[in-house]
């Protein structure tokens, strides 16, 4: 990324010019610059203190670069929250310092603040309020840090919304410990509404899944609940077809596995047992693990290549446009 020149100048017009040059050097296009200019805080502050606004833009862009944000991340946070360009640099640096004290790496801090740019203007006590909200509901500090790193937005839940989620999971018969585990294991659940979760649970019940037992295994439940109903249906149809009884909790492992892989392994079994009308439960059970490959001398890639789930539609015109980016 090109380094930004932040030479001091005297006039407002010079500062303004310098701010726009800095934005352009960082890769902002005309549309994104106009979006920043039209933002509420920007217009108010330009009227009140243009010198401050124009001098902070190059200064903050430089700080973001020095902290390790990529060009795309800088543009993203400024588009998302234009005020980041006007934040006090001491506040920005303080957030990095405070997160570091919490054991959060610089890379993780960039990830967190790219997802929640306004965190770059938070005081330590304000960050503590978010953390304490979770601790007061039974989470450990490490749990909260894990949530913050995995799914930053999850941390912004209010006390009421967090309590409402815990109460809802409690009505499903989950213990306090399991509730904490499921939310730390898959923090995106913190942002899914209770209404949505309720529909998903009812859907699983209708599909014959023993949901009560499933919810006692938070790490498995979280992986299934986040999938779309179409994906769950696809999995359940296939598993039912090959005789997996999903009312048995021992079979939940099948639900969290990759359906394409499951199908490719099932094909191996069918091919080596052509003479049999029906495979035994022990044989079917083989598709859970990896031993099937060594047992029948087939590699995972060979099995995968024959899976009907591996489609290959023609590339679209637009997808070809980004081909170079992907292959760089």
């Amino acid at each position: 990324m090109e380094k930004i020149n932040t030479t001091n100048t005297n006039t407002v017009e010079d500062l303004k010019q310098q701010a726009f040059i800095a934005l352009q050097q960082t890769g902002f296009n005309q549309i994104s610059i106009e979006k920043i200019q039209k933002s509420k805080n920007y217009t108010i502050l330009v009227k009140r203190s243009p010198e401050m606004v124009y001098s902070r833009i190059p200064q903050n862009l430089k700080i973001f670069q020095e902290l390790g944000y990529t060009q795309a991340q800088i543009i993203h946070i400024a588009q998302h929250t234009p005020s980041v360009l006007l934040y006090n640099k001491d506040n920005i640096q303080n957030v990095f310092q405070y997160f570091s004290q919490l054991g959060i790496t610089q890379d993780d801090t960039i990830k967190i603040t790219t997802a929640i740019p306004h965190f770059l203007n938070k005081k330590n006590t304000e960050i503590d309020t978010y953390i304490d909200n979770f601790i007061s509901k039974g989470f450990t500090k490490q749990d909260v840090i894990n949530i913050l790193k995995r799914h930053p937005i999850g941390i912004t839940n209010t006390s009421q919304s967090l309590q409402s989620k815990i109460d809802f999971l409690n009505t499903l018969g989950m213990t306090k410990e399991n509730i904490t585990n499921i939310l730390v294991d898959e923090p995106v659940l913190l942002n899914l509404s209770n209404n949505f979760l309720s529909k998903k649970i009812n859907f699983l019940v209708k599909q014959g899944v023993d949901v009560n037992s499933l919810l006692q295994a938070p790490s498995k439940a979280s992986k299934i609940i986040i999938l779309s109903t179409d994906k769950i249906t696809e999995k359940i149809l296939f598993l039912n077809k090959i005789g997996i009884d999903l009312s048995k909790k021992d079979n939940f492992d099948f639900l969290t596995q990759n359906i394409t892989i499951l199908h490719s392994k099932y094909n191996i079994l069918k091919n080596v047992n052509k003479h049999k009308k029906k495979l035994t439960p022990e044989e079917i059970n083989l598709i859970k693990g990896r031993e099937i490959y060594t047992k029948y001398g087939i590699t995972a890639s060979e099995a995968l290549a024959n899976s009907p789930y591996t489609n290959n539609p023609n590339e679209t015109k637009n997808s070809i446009n980004i081909k170079e980016d992907i292959e760089r």
Binding site: N146, R150, N258, T260, A300, K323
Partner: protein
């Protein structure tokens, strides 16, 4: 953005789920969102896969496209090539950053996995990243 989501074939209910989970999506850059969708198409995701990924992971369209490409670069380096399988099985893997993937790969190599083994593990268990992370 709503119009864009409708054009992708998402139903009113799907869009409500997305808005409920990521209410900021309406303010996201449409150009970036479209690049993220095209990235999925490039990896052979069809319309149903894309609908599934976006409704399962409503934050996907908010991620800077360069971050996604960087993540994919790390996966390509170890020889992973069927991204459709990975993304549809665990749409949340797309929220990971390149440096996290690098850390994961380093962890596996330190535990004596070859790159081929790592790919097999990822295909077998698309949630392996979360498990290592926690």
């Amino acid at each position: 953005m709503i119009k864009y989501l409708k054009n992708l074939g998402l139903s009113k209910e799907d869009i409500n789920i997305i808005l409920e989970t990521n209410d900021n999506i309406q303010n996201e850059d449409l150009g970036n969102a479209n690049k993220n969708v095209q990235t999925l198409k490039y990896f052979q995701c069809d319309n149903n896969d894309i609908k599934h990924i976006i409704t399962s992971n409503p934050f996907y369209l908010s991620i800077p496209n360069d971050d996604i490409l960087e993540l994919i670069c790390y996966l390509k380096k170890i020889g992973l090539n069927d991204f459709r399988i990975l993304f549809t099985e665990n749409p949340y893997v797309l929220n990971q950053k390149g440096y996290e993937m690098q850390k994961f790969i380093k962890h596996m190599i330190n535990n004596f996995y070859s790159t081929q083994d790592i790919c097999n593990e990822i295909y077998q268990n698309p949630y392996i990243f979360n498990e290592i992370y926690n």
